[in-house]
Amino acid sequence: MNEASTTAVGTAHRDGATTVAPSRAGLVGERLRRRAADLLLSDYFILYVSLAYFIILIPFLPTLSNPANLANILSNMWPLLVVAVGQTFVLTIGGIDLSQGSVVGLASVVGAALLATAGSEAVMANAPLWGLVLSEQGGPLAGLPRGLAIGILAMLLTGLLIGALNGVSVAYLDMPPFMVTLVGLIVIGAFAIWLTQSENIRPLPDSYVQLGKGQIVSVYLGEQAEPRIPRREIHAFITYPMLIAVGVALAAHLLLSRSVFGRYVYAVGSNRRAAEISGVPVKRVIVAVFMISALCAAAGAILYSARLEAGRPTLGEGAFLLDVIGAVVIGGTSLFGGKGKIIWTCFGVLFFVLLSNTLNLMNLSSFHIDMVKGGVILAAAMLDVWRTRLLRERTT
């Protein structure tokens, strides 16, 4: 906000110059506007919005604050957060990764095909994987001492490979990220469906399923009135997916905010040409960013397929990308590149999951829920434009 726009009283001096002295009301107004702008530009803005939204809705949706629902919100956050962290990197360089959904599907199929403890010929007989990787005895890694680790590694490598293809296409072939990853979404998704002929692969080993829903610390709040505490009153507090998601987010935060690579990412997103002139290895950074994005999608596939206890080629289809990109944009990562933080994405995911949860509690239909989500994402994109303008005004 510049001086000229404030309410002011002019005082004439002998030399003809005029000093503009703001009125009291003008000063208060200016201070409030500055506070509002500070709030809007704060790293914690979406956290504040989430808290306000939560508190405002509690009287209308009493279930919202019950421990079971809070545990539920958290459990829904973790897989989405892992995938959204990867998308944050891509959006920060001014790109977009639409192939994340199909990477989730393919990685889940790869992992399940290797780790499944049994197979059904009646269901899978027409699938190319049948007989080649999967049999009545399950996948080749079923029951092996380090099978789980190798299976997970294969899933992550699948992600890295796809990310490298995306990155090379964007960085070295100068293809637009939107087109490259849109094609990836279609081709990789179709490949995953072809591999299993649209069938789901299960059963998966318990050790794998634990990664998606295993509880480390559970709590029961209240006095024990009966000998047997109903299971629904015991709430997950610390879970394996929570540890994985927090670990991924923390590593990504350090990489983006505390490393030279992170500074390169911001530089490429702010101005690719300027970054090149400054000696930033732009092409390698772009490839690495797409690899990180697909790696996170593959890690997300572990959590999603483990919680559903099946490798599913259709995982990541439908409104999944809306959720991922929506959560990142709501968090404050700019669609124009150069601006993004992992902590913003954490808050964005929190808000997005909270929003979904409250819309469910309001008993809205899935169509209305998607419409509201779309509206909120649009509002977040507009907010991004507003914040960028505000920031520019402050720095000039």
Partner: protein
């Protein structure tokens, strides 16, 4: 316990004070989580379940997962967190059903699976049609007609539109089709299988390709009645969409028993359809879940089988009103 025969009779009975279901002493809150309402069968099932529960004074929380298994799991968890007394689910597929049933039971919430069974039948209240037998009955009729019309020694070409084989219903229907065909294996060529994944667009593309490559098809069986309009759009331009008795009539059968199938049987374009007794299934699911709630049983496990039957051109007159689709047709469902 009076079985539900039609929505109209359900409403009438409710007005007359006739108890339709074993209602718990207090009104229950039931979460009804369904994967989508794409076909007539699901729409009719959804209406039967929600209206009956509401008429009985229960609260129904509806959740539509829009064909997303992960979303359905999250919705069921939401329902559990809200403290619902019971859950009725139409799952996305047999695999996700296993996970969701386990999730509900581990949280001490009784759950019933409506019509699309989990791949593991040992947990939950599972209401399922005997798809294999019903399909076999319908295809038996088609085979009988085909052989009656065929010349001696002539071999016939059958085609089946297969559903998503991740759905045990689709597997049962496919098995029933083969059971009937294999009874006369010497008279039939190897059946052509057309994958549909329960998706009309996929079915259209694959059926177009199959019929183009094999124009001499004598018998078509679709694993679900909702694909009859798709079959028509492929056969009609080729002059193969003809009523019974007309030259070029392709013997056609399906399974579900919806209103479109009923109309097409009456018009002579379809020869038989396997009927799932939707109202029996809805009634059985509601009764079982409400009884479990009343008895404080958290993990009821029971398989309730709908024997079903085949409605054919021959028994149309006597069994028409036993088929839910014909009841809906009579109520003007297709005119709405």
């Amino acid at each position: 316990m009076k079985p539900i025969t039609t929505l109209a009779s359900a409403a009438l009975a409710a007005v007359a004070g006739v108890p339709l279901l074993a209602t718990p002493a207090t009104a229950a809150t039931i979460c009804f989580a369904f994967q989508d309402l794409e076909t007539e069968f699901w729409v009719a099932g959804h209406t039967a379940i929600t209206q009956t529960l509401e008429e009985e004074g229960h609260t129904v929380i509806e959740r539509n997962a829009n064909e997303d298994a992960n979303r359905q799991l999250e919705q069921v968890r939401d329902c559990v967190a809200q403290g619902v007394d019971g859950i009725i689910i139409i799952p996305q597929d047999g695999e996700s059903a296993v996970t969701i049933v386990k999730e509900a039971q581990e949280n001490d919430v009784p759950i019933a699976v409506f019509n699309r069974p989990p791949s593991d039948l040992s947990r939950g209240i599972i209401v399922v049609a005997d798809n294999e037998t019903i399909a076999e009955q319908a295809v038996d009729f088609l085979v009988e007609q085909a052989l009656a019309e065929a010349e001696d020694g002539q071999t016939l070409q059958p085609l089946i539109l297969v559903g998503d084989l991740g759905d045990p219903n689709a597997v049962g229907r496919k098995n029933g089709f083969y059971n009937a065909i294999e009874k006369h294996a010497d008279r039939f060529e190897t059946p052509i299988e057309v994958a549909t994944e329960w998706d009309a667009a996929t079915a259209l593309a694959n059926l177009e390709a199959a019929v183009t490559a094999n124009p001499e098809i004598d018998l078509i069986f679709t694993s679900s009645d909702f694909l009859f309009p798709t079959i028509r759009s492929v056969l009609e331009p080729r002059g193969m969409w003809q009523p019974r008795g007309e030259p070029g009539h392709v013997l056609l059968g399906g399974l579900d028993g919806d209103a479109t199938a009923c109309q097409l049987i009456k018009e002579g374009f379809v020869d038989a359809t396997g009927v799932q007794d939707l109202y029996f299934e809805a009634d059985a699911a509601l009764t079982a879940i409400l009884e479990a709630i009343e008895q404080g049983e958290y993990q009821p496990n029971e398989v309730i089988e709908d024997p079903g039957f085949a409605l054919t051109a021959d028994n149309l007159g006597e069994r028409e009103m036993d088929m839910w689709g014909c009841v809906l047709l009579a109520e003007g469902f297709l005119d709405r």
